[in-house]
């Protein structure tokens, strides 16, 4: 039986881990390579690096972080942030990333999803959607870019469907309203997208405790759950999240089965 995945996300800026509330007021703590290895050894089913660096110079540091992580981290590695073209894509995969998540670049240049999935396969193209509530959008949610700062006048559900049609193999769906709030995932948003696209949907934004993960799987049908700060600051471990999920009838990968 397929396990529901628990994904640990690391927000990285200039080679260091950060995690802030709603993507501003960032706190610095830790080395991403070491942290990714710890997560993979303690049961994370995937690691996701979100590079929030701005400049090209800083991005070079990220390539180095990915290469080093991939040497000893034998779980799938997704990298997102600042990907603008196919050569960024190729470079990340060559460093050892397994999947690349695209967000703003896909909004401004939807062709990139098609081109990258044609070139590298849809298994490695993750469409990241940052959603906010909107009364004027048919689905009730609008796509934003730049960490939620810019609205796009695009409907989340339409965009998700279009992304899948163009070749995205997975959707990383973040509720910007709940991101960093630790009040739980956005259940309505996740359910809406999960039920209407054919590819796996990763729920993101708002995990505060293991029960939130259980809820978004049971009530919204998420294929995977992603969290950053609750793991990063040691509030909850991956093991405690998986135990809670298992207790609630959700099949997870046994992370104590090491040898």
């Amino acid at each position: 039986m397929l396990s529901t995945r628990v994904i640990a996300c690391l927000d990285v800026h200039d080679g260091r881990i950060v995690k802030g509330i709603n993507f501003v007021d960032l706190k610095d703590a830790g080395d991403p390579v070491e942290q990714a290895n710890l997560y993979s050894k303690t049961g994370a089913d995937e690691i996701c690096f979100l590079d929030i660096s701005a400049t090209h110079e800083e991005r070079k540091t990220m390539f180095d972080v990915i290469s080093k992580t991939a040497e000893s981290c034998f779980v799938p590695l997704t990298v997102g942030g600042g990907i603008n073209n196919l050569s960024d894509f190729r470079e990340l995969l060559a460093c050892g990333a397994d999947k690349v998540s695209i967000n703003s670049a896909a909004v401004y240049n939807p062709e990139i999803i098609k081109h990258s999935s044609d070139k590298f396969g849809n298994q490695c193209v993750v469409l990241a959607i940052d959603a906010i509530e909107s009364k004027i959008m048919p689905s009730g949610y609008e796509v934003t870019t730049h960490g939620g700062r810019k609205k796009t006048n695009m409907d989340v559900l339409n965009w998700a469907k279009q992304g899948v049609e163009n070749g995205a193999g997975e959707i990383l769906l973040t509720s910007m309203t709940t991101d960093g709030m630790k009040t739980g995932y956005n259940l309505n948003l996740t359910k809406l997208v999960s039920e209407n696209v054919s590819v796996p949907v990763i729920a993101s934004g708002g995990a505060g405790n293991p029960k939130d993960m259980v809820d978004v799987v049971l009530k919204s049908g998420a294929s995977a759950v992603l969290a950053a700060s609750i793991f990063h600051f040691g509030i909850h471990s991956i093991l405690s999240v998986k135990k809670e999920m298992f207790k609630n009838g959700i099949h997870v990968r046994d992370c104590e089965n090491k040898k």
Partner: protein, 219 residues
């Protein structure tokens, strides 16, 4: 021993190299890894690995673009009996054909073909079956005493990411299967060659066990 990871422009060569390097080091094996498409190196190799991510037609095209590669590979594996591992699309290419995008022929080392995963009904939590079949899944060991399965059990899980599955295969070549909406062959093999539908290089501790089994296997 020389282990060659065949480079034909497809995918996650670094990940495969890293995972095999780790296993070689941890098991104190004397084995050198080289990532190449040089035909002479492939001819001189002891063990061969064909990785593969992306679509079936693209992978096939990538192989065909290297003049003589498919012929040399078939000769080394089928006639010279070199130990071989096909991973994901690398495994799929060992069979007759796939219907992904457009019907494309493989090497026909084994009989069987690939078609789109069925998504009938709902899973145990009432969710739709999504394609790709993406994530960690356990194996049903069909040929439990095969050396490749040593120390593995049904608690071990492997990372899958694929949309097409093997059908019309020979049952006696099925080593392990998985289940996602329906049964899906996960490890297949004959004589000196094995194919895995999942990614052992991305399957953490369980993947490392399988990799070390393959490295130590003497077909």
């Amino acid at each position: 021993m020389n282990l060659i990871i065949i480079d034909y422009g497809s995918g996650n060569l670094r990940s495969v190299e890293n995972a095999f390097f780790n296993s070689i080091t941890e098991n104190n094996l004397k084995c050198k890894i080289k990532v190449t498409n040089n035909l002479q190196s492939i001819t001189n190799a002891d063990f061969l690995i064909l990785p593969g991510v992306g679509s079936y037609p693209d992978c096939k095209k990538g192989l065909q673009e290297i003049d003589g590669l498919i012929e040399v590979l078939s000769e080394q594996v089928i006639y010279k009996k070199k130990k071989f591992l096909g991973i994901c699309v690398g495994m799929q290419l060992m069979f007759d054909f796939s219907l992904e995008k457009i019907k494309t022929s493989g090497f026909s080392w084994l009989s069987g073909n690939f078609k789109k995963i069925k998504t009938v009904g709902l899973d145990y939590l009432g969710r739709n079956f999504k394609v790709p079949h993406m994530g960690w899944n356990s194996l049903q060991l069909q040929y439990a005493n095969h050396p490749i399965l040593k120390n593995l059990n049904e608690k071990d899980q492997y990372y899958f990411v694929h949309s097409y599955y093997l059908e019309n295969n020979e049952k006696n070549q099925l080593i392990a299967s998985t289940n996602y909406c329906h049964e899906i062959p996960a490890i297949v093999g004959k004589d000196n060659y094995i194919g895995v539908q999942f990614h052992p290089e991305k399957s953490s501790f369980s993947g490392q066990k399988l990799i070390s089994n393959w490295l130590k296997w003497q077909p």
